[in-house]
């Protein structure tokens, strides 16, 4: 149904009917978004859908009015998708430049390193409980299930572990 309507609109667009063309492009938008939503990360979907509209505009004379419209738009969408995948693959092979504009994560990295060092000095049961609940955000119940401990034991391990971490951190601070 839609395909036959799109075909009629495309033929009118080839004749220069702007309102038919506008309607066609607006109807193609949701179809393209849904096509790419199953194939690409969400952030790229809208961008590529717009790119296809630009391609449809530039290559509209390659549509043969005697043939169905569906295969034509599908092959263009597919071609652009493969093109994008190829570009993504190429960008994975890009060499790192010496100077990259990026936020300074030194402080966060230093904190993560210090925390890791302190956690390694806790008992494994305490460190695991803290990591799952306080860092990864699991509930106490989920952590208990994963660690094979009772809920009460997980709570005790977290409590004692945090207290020991605090003491270790203060001791480190005094050493410096």
């Amino acid at each position: 149904m839609a395909e036959e309507r799109w075909r009629t609109l495309m033929i009118a667009a080839q004749d220069g009917d702007a309102s038919a063309y506008r309607r066609l492009l607006l109807e193609l938008g949701p179809w393209l978004r849904s096509y790419y939503a199953r194939r690409l990360p969400a952030a790229m979907v809208d961008d590529l859908a717009q790119e296809v509209l630009l391609t449809v505009h530039a290559k509209r004379h390659t549509y043969d009015p005697t043939k169905p419209f569906g295969p034509w738009i599908a092959v263009i969408a597919r071609y652009k998708w493969i093109d994008r995948l190829r570009a993504m693959k190429d960008s994975l092979n890009d060499e790192l430049e010496d100077e990259i504009a990026a936020p300074d994560n030194g402080e966060a990295a230093h904190c993560a390193y210090t925390l890791d060092a302190l956690m390694s000095r806790l008992k494994p049961a305490q460190a695991n409980a803290i990591r799952l609940v306080k860092i990864e955000g699991l509930s106490v119940k989920e952590a208990a299930a994963r660690l094979g401990q009772t809920i009460a034991l997980v709570k005790v391990n977290i409590h004692r572990g945090l207290r020991q971490l605090s003491e270790l951190a203060q001791a480190e601070h005094h050493e410096f």
Partner: protein, 213 residues
């Protein structure tokens, strides 16, 4: 950019277009090829000596083989500029045609034999001239096909560039037959092959850069 805004801009920019027609593109290429051949005859580079058909048995083989390859590859190349067309099967057919044409050369008699005469048979100085001329003669159809490729929307660039290269190269070699005095199949396959390979490589490099969309 906002989606609706883009649609508005594209609709405002809309102008009537004439849909691409296969027979028009084929007609353009036939015209380019015919004009090139007519010019070669007009300036005396080529001559139609029917006597050569009797004295040089490879002339007929060359004309039929190269004409056939050029026609099939050219037609398929033009069709491959349609985004919905798949040239997978025609390329297989074309490979079979090329193989048959090459095999046809084996059955041509009156060929000097012996390994010792191999280097002499190749006549490399004449051969390089021959390969260079074939490459030059294939330029008009190559340019024509690349321009048609830019106007079309080829989706299988690997096959399109192969077909464009083969069609142009075969036509360049076909045109050259009318002025080529050599009759040895080894010489022909080697140097015609080199000239054609150069054009195919050129098409392989040029087409994706110009006809990419």
């Amino acid at each position: 950019m906002n989606f609706e805004l883009l649609v508005d801009r594209l609709a405002d920019d809309l102008e009537p277009v004439r849909p691409r027609r296969l027979w028009v593109d084929v007609g353009i290429m036939v015209l380019v090829a015919a004009v090139e051949l007519a010019l070669l005859f007009a300036v005396g580079f080529a001559n139609l000596d029917l006597h050569r058909l009797e004295t040089q048995p490879t002339v007929g083989w060359r004309l039929v083989s190269l004409g056939l390859i050029s026609a099939v590859a050219g037609y398929t190349a033009i069709r491959s500029f349609d985004p919905t067309y798949s040239a997978k099967r025609p390329v297989r057919w074309l490979a079979a045609i090329v193989a048959l044409c090459l095999l046809g050369g084996l059955f041509l008699g009156d060929v000097p034999g012996g390994v010792t005469t191999l280097l002499r048979r190749l006549e490399w100085t004449d051969g390089i001239h021959c390969a260079l001329r074939i490459t030059l003669l294939s330029m008009p159809p190559l340019v024509g096909l690349v321009l048609l490729g830019c106007r079309g929307a080829p989706t299988d660039m690997r096959r399109s560039r192969l077909l464009v290269g083969l069609a142009a190269a075969a036509w360049g070699a076909f045109s050259f037959v009318f002025s080529c005095p050599f009759n040895d199949p080894l010489f022909i396959i080697t140097w015609y092959g080199l000239g054609c390979a150069t054009t195919v490589l050129l098409a392989r490099w040029v087409l994706p850069r110009l006809a990419c969309w």
